[in-house]
Structures are given as C-alpha cells and as structure tokens.
C-alpha cells in the first residue's frame, strides 16, 4: 500500500523550473483534497450567508419593514456576490488560495509557472458558477416550485456530475475552469526543518560499528525508508525493521536497543552512501550493484 501511495504521488509530480534554472518540482493536489477544500469553502460561505440574512431579517424587522419579497431578492443577489467575491478576493491575493485551500495546504498556480494573473482567477471561478452552482440552483428552483420533472432532474444531475468528475479524467487533475484559465492546484506544504538524525549520538549509539560489507547490503531507497520509519513513531514497524536488518547483516543488537541500533545503522549507511555519491556513484537501491 505504501508503495502504491508513493507511485501515486510520483504521478502527480510536475516540473517547475525557476528562472534560476532549478527544478523545484510541484505536486498536484489530489481530487479528494480539493473536494475537501471546496466543501470547507462552501461551509464558510453558507455560515456567512446565514449570518448576513439573520442580520437583514432582524434589522429590517426592527425598522418596521415587513416585506419578505425584497429580502428574498436581496438574498439571492447577495449570495451570488458573496460566493463569487469570496473565491475571487482570496485567490487574487498573493497567497492565491481560499480559506479551505489554506487549511488543506493547497494553492492555485499558473500552469506555465508565471505569476497568476487576475483574468486567470476570474476565469477559473466563473466556470465554477457553471460547473456547480448553475445546475444546483436550477434543480433547487424547480424542486421548490414543484415542477422538477424526472428528465430535468436527471439532466441537471448528469451535467453536474460530468463537471465534478472531470478532474479525475485528465492527467493534471484540472477542472474545466482550470483548463480555461491555464491554472492548476498544487500542494504547498509548510515544512519545518527536521532534525538531522545522524547528529543524534550517545554512548549506546556510538557502540555500534559496522563493516563496509554490512553497509553494502542496502541502497538509497532503503535508506529513505529507514529515515521515514525513524522519523515516525510507529514502534511496531520500528522493531520489525530492526529485526529484519539485524538478521540480514548479522548484528545481535538486543531487543531493548532496536531504536539506537537503527539510528546508528542509518547514520553509518547514510554517510557511506553519501561518500559514494561524492565519488560519483548513486546507488539507487539494494539491487543496484
């Protein structure tokens, strides 16, 4: 499962070459994360709309105006503007992301790597109006007046579904709006600098020494897997891995010393492979001679 997740992430990797000539490599957001961000945004808009209509209702009631029709009209127009202003104003800012995208660690970016222009933001958000809200409002309106025949309902549902599933059917996970605007949605995780595992050292760790033969068993892929295990906090996985490595290289480490053993082995293996790297040999994995 972990491997398939890895492959899946690799399929979402796109190159982004800066003017300095460094390929930063961006990861496209997957469909689930984007759906989550959209639902969050829809939730925020609904809360805001609800608050505004409460204020309008009581405010107008307090003024002694009792006419439900104008309120309904105002509300329809307001919600239209609210949702459009929400997406436009947030995505036109430097961060290029709505609150939902921010929470999910996403942002909008131009596909060609240039700065996001305002007409791109407009294009991708206008299309959302057609992708989601138009069929939705048509359906609601018809259901409300009780004239929603099966055919219209089915047509509306098919329309909305077609647009909603569109990102799943293209390589770059684009909505129709992204396609027309020349944008895509990428992950921008905020990472803190993790500690250097090889700098962890105490007498127990230093007590482990490994011969070049023992270090020759693994390559870079295995090293990175080991790093992932050490940075995580899954103790069961840790002891399994320690046992596998201990058996393979023939080092009895003692059951209570699984972690120090792995830290020591990781440190030596990394330095060993880095030295090879320096001398021009990148040993990709254990099958790489």
């Amino acid at each position: 499962m972990a491997r398939s997740r890895h492959r899946e992430a690799a399929s979402r990797l796109r190159s982004l070459v800066t003017p300095e000539g460094v390929d930063l490599g961006v990861v496209l957001a997957d469909a689930g994360t984007r759906a989550g961000a959209f639902l969050l945004d829809a939730f925020f808009i609904m809360i805001a709309g609800f608050l505004i209509s409460l204020v309008a209702l009581f405010g107008l009631g307090g003024l002694g105006i009792d006419s439900r029709e104008p309120i309904a009209v105002v509300w329809i127009v307001l919600v239209f503007f609210l949702r459009n202003a929400y997406f436009l104003a947030f995505e036109a800012r430097r961060g290029a992301r709505t609150l939902g995208k921010r929470i999910m660690g996403l942002r909008v970016a131009s596909r060609d790597g240039s700065g996001l222009a305002i007409d791109q933001v407009i294009a991708r958000n206008l299309m959302r109006e057609i992708e989601v809200f138009l069929p939705l409002s048509m359906l609601l309106a018809r259901a409300g007046t009780g004239v929603a025949d099966t055919l219209t309902t089915m047509f509306g549902a098919a329309w909305a579904l077609g647009f909603a599933l569109f990102p799943l059917f293209n390589r770059d996970r684009m909505r129709i709006g992204d396609l027309l605007a020349g944008t895509w949605v990428i992950e921008v995780p905020k990472r803190t600098l993790a500690e250097d595992l090889t700098q962890r050292s105490d007498s127990i760790i230093r007590a482990f020494r490994f011969t070049p033969e023992q270090l020759d068993v693994y390559g870079i892929a295995e090293l990175h897997k080991l790093e992932e295990i050490l940075r995580g906090d899954n103790d069961a996985a840790l002891s399994t891995v320690a046992k596998a490595i201990g058996d393979k290289i023939g080092v009895p480490y003692g059951d209570d010393r699984a972690r120090p053993f792995l830290i020591a082995y990781h440190g030596e293996l990394r330095a060993y492979l880095e030295r090879k790297l320096l001398l021009g040999k990148r040993r990709i994995n254990k099958h790489d001679a």
């Binding site: 790597g113 407009i122 020349g182 320096l278």
Partner: protein, 339 residues
C-alpha cells in the same frame, strides 16, 4: 587509486554545510511567513532587499543538498521553502485593489475589443433571429405560443387588447410586471452564462441560444407592432435593453471565441488555445455580469419611474453610447503590451 575519503569526513562536512546555512534558511522562512501573513509592508526596506538574496542562497543550498546529501527531511524542507519563496518573489506583484483597478482600466475593455469579430457575429445572429421571429408570427399567429414560453409572455399574446398592452408598458409599480422584470433578469443572466459556458460544445449551442433570444424579441415586437405600439414598446425595451442585449451579445461572443478556438486551435495545442481564449472570455464575462446588473437597476428603477417615451430612448441611447465609448474609443495606454 586516489586518496580515500573517510566516512566520518563526509559526515562532518555535510553536517557543517547544514549548520552553517541553517541560520539563513530560518531567517528566510521567518521573513516569508511574516510577508505571507500580512503584506510586504510588514517588512522593513532592509528585510525586503534581503529577500531575493536569501531566496537565491536557499535555492543554491537545495541544489547542493540534492547533489550531495541523502537526508530526505532536509531536502523536503528546502524544496518547500524554495517553492514558497518562488511564489512570493515571482508571483503576483500587485495588491488586490491595484489589480481590480487594472481590470477596469485595462483588462475589461481590451477583452471586449479583442472579441469584436465575435461580437459583430453575435449581433448579426440576434438581428437574424429577430427578423425570423417577427416574420414567423406575422405569417401565422400560432407561432407566437411556440416561440415564447408561456411564463415569459405573461398574457401578452397577439390576441391581447391594445389598452391592456399599453397599460403594461407604463404601469410600473404593482401587477405582474415587477415579477416579470425579476424573472427577465434571472432569465437574461442565465442566457448569458449559458451562452458563454456552452461555447465549449464548439459554439453550436451558443449560436442557437442567441438566435432563439432574437426570435423571442422579434415575436414580441410583432405583437406590439400589429397594435400600433411600436414606438412605446421600443422605449420600454430600449431603456435597459440597449445595455442588456449588448451584454448578451458579448456573452455569446465570449462563448463563440472559446468554441472556435477549441475547434480551430491554429498553431497552439487545443488545451493551450482553450486556456488563452478562456482568459479573454472570462474577463469579458465579468464585464457582462456588471452590465447586466446595470441593466437590472435600469429596469427595476428607471423604467418604473420614467414613463416618458422620449426620456426612455434618451437614457437607453446614452447608456449604449457610454458602453461603446468605454470599450472601443477610450484606450488606456498602459505602456506594456500584455499577452
């Protein structure tokens, strides 16, 4: 062979690479975080000047780390930091307010200018539909019911009396006309959004939609013409219609642009051509939404309050002149040519 590099030596030099540069990365991260959270104004001049320097040093550290280090945690950190810096330094340089001003001064009129061919085609289609609708109803009155949806007609059929029709044109306040106006507004917004969106299907639905809209207009026009109320009906329609019909034509033009560019992408790939057309069309569509708002206000207030035919024509005409001047005559010179 050559002198062996000791394992501990490599480990030592990579550790010092990290520890010596770490302070710069942390400083860069802190500056970016502050600038992202607030605005560039949160930074002092000195800090602003140091941003590109720190960015480049982070980027070069990333290159070094990728080539020499196998510490995934370090590389992932540098990648995410460089990406944030990249988007900050090469991303949008202007604030929201400036960009909105930019839209009104530059993007909107230039998008409409860019669409002039499609707009002409759209107007021609609407006129064609108008003539067809007019002739059809003149030929056989039963066409009227076929062309105009019952809820849109509101009883104004070919068999309605002159008095009743005349009353509808001037009696703004109560009655069915106010709900009719609200209906018409949502109808028009939907027509223009659909005309734009359905451009996707190679512009065929857009063309049909614009034709149909002209048809409805023509059929209704015939009813008033046959009763000798042309001048009055014209005023009733023109006060907001000049803005509204123009907006619908532009929406149709935007749809056609997308459709034709997908069908005939030229030297670009279809996706790139669609993206290019989409950006122009989207700018035009925001303008359309604003024009429809203006039309809605004219319809809601202007037409209810102003019942003089001459004044109605004057207002409708001056709005049309205003739009035309804004779009086609006045060209803001921005100096740099945007693509």
């Amino acid at each position: 062979m050559n002198a062996p590099v000791s394992v501990d030596g490599v480990r030592q030099s990579l550790a010092s690479f990290r520890s010596e540069r770490e302070r710069d990365w942390k400083a860069f991260e802190e500056l970016i975080a502050r600038a992202e959270k607030r605005s560039p104004k949160a930074l002092t001049d000195e800090e602003l000047l140091s941003l590109p320097v720190l960015y480049r040093s982070t980027l070069s550290a990333l290159s070094v780390a990728r080539a020499t280090s196998l510490d995934n945690g370090l590389i992932a950190y540098l990648e995410s930091l460089s990406l944030r810096g990249y988007f900050y330094l090469y991303g949008a340089r202007r604030g929201l307010i400036e960009r909105i001003a930019d839209f009104f001064v530059h993007d909107w009129p230039s998008a409409i200018r860019d669409l002039w061919r499609e707009t002409l085609a759209s107007v021609a289609l609407m006129v064609l539909g108008f003539v067809a609708g007019f002739r059809l109803v003149a030929f056989d009155k039963t066409w009227y019911d076929a062309i105009i949806p019952a809820d849109l007609a509101g009883g104004r059929g070919p068999d309605a009396s002159v008095e009743w029709l005349r009353q509808g044109l001037y009696d703004g306040g109560g009655g069915y006309l106010s709900t009719f106006a609200a209906y018409l507004f949502t109808h028009n917004v939907q027509v223009s959004i659909l005309a734009f969106a359905l451009g996707f299907a190679l512009a065929v639905p857009t063309v049909l939609l614009i034709l149909m809209n002209g048809c409805i207009l023509g059929a209704m026009f015939y009813v008033f013409w046959s009763k000798g109320l042309v001048y009055e009906f014209g005023g009733w329609l023109f006060i907001h219609g000049s803005t509204e019909l123009f907006a619908i034509c532009i929406a149709g033009a935007a749809g056609m642009r997308i459709g034709t560019r997908i069908a005939f992408p030229g030297s670009l790939s279809r996706i790139k051509a669609a993206a290019k057309a989409g950006r122009v069309a989207a700018s035009a569509m925001v303008g359309v939404a604003m024009m429809l708002m203006a039309a809605g206000l004219l319809e809601g207030f202007g037409r209810q309050l102003i019942t003089s035919d001459g004044l109605r024509y004057l207002i409708g005409g001056s709005f049309l002149a205003l739009w035309l001047a804004y779009f086609y005559l006045v060209q803001a010179d921005t100096g740099d040519e945007k693509t």
